[in-house]
Subunit: 132 residues, 2 copies
DNA sequence: TCGTGGGTTAGAATGAATCTAATCCTATCG
DNA sequence: CGATAGGATTAGATTCATTCTAACCCACGA
């Protein structure tokens, strides 16, 4: 179910440029991914134009703003960018330093924290941290 | 239910020193806290010896290792140190940049992610991110 | 052809956290 | 009581991820 990078950008209202096309092409190749900036850099290195770090960050942040990807941060280390945008949770495999998705249907959460009135829940982040 | 800082350190097997005593005194004053390094620094500034940043980090990390506090990181920003060590979850109030605890009893999670055999769940982190 | 403005860039700057090597204490031993 | 060994503390440098800045490039329209 692969849609062309160009049309993905177009429907997100983002001008297609070399970097954005190359990054979208890598990210949206049909396999959902969790990539770090370094991994994305490596992947683009194998393509035509290797972008500067700054534009890679710019482009990833644009994609986030457009809702094409999501940023996931755990610990204080480098951020992950997740190509799955619908609500879901994560398993972090400490030994492999790898993120894995958990569909929302796999867990059921009953109960809600008490919140001040008028508050809205922006997101619910769940991470199972596992090791061997 | 306030226990003296000295006896807390002693039962954790940590030598009592000026900084460690001052920090423990501030952290374990009976009110559970979520503090950043900067807040801890501010608090210690009002006491006898203002420690260097390095030893504050050292001391907070020692306390973590000893199980006296827990580190919580969200986004890429500065870490929080949480004086509540038993399992619990968090609400993050984005508008106030404030963490709040949710007791485990307030939520029920049914279902577990599929894990490779032999894996153990180190922790389950849940953060409700809320805004006004 | 000349601007205009967005895209891209290298390199500097920022902020959190850690590392290093020197110095300070302090408990213990002679 | 004085020497000393080893942990505690320190200032400052260092690392790492990320963002900022100011210049440059380039496609497109007047």
């Amino acid at each position: 179910m692969r849609t062309g990078a160009a049309s993905i950008l177009e429907s997100a209202g983002i001008q297609p440029t070399r970097i954005r096309l190359a990054l979208a092409d890598y990210l949206f190749d049909g396999e959902h991914k969790h990539v770090t900036v370094q991994e994305a850099l490596e992947a683009l290195k194998r393509k035509r134009h290797l972008p500067s770090l700054a534009s890679l960050y710019n482009t990833l942040n644009e994609f986030c703003r457009a809702g094409l990807i999501r940023k996931v941060t755990l610990d204080g280390g480098a951020a992950w960018f997740d190509t799955r945008t619908e609500p879901h949770y994560h398993v972090f495999h400490e030994d492999e330093c790898r993120l894995e998705d958990i569909p929302v249907a796999a867990l059921k959460i009953t109960g809600r924290p008490k919140l001040p009135k008028g508050s809205i829940v922006r997101s619910v982040e769940i991470v199972f941290r596992v090791a061997k």
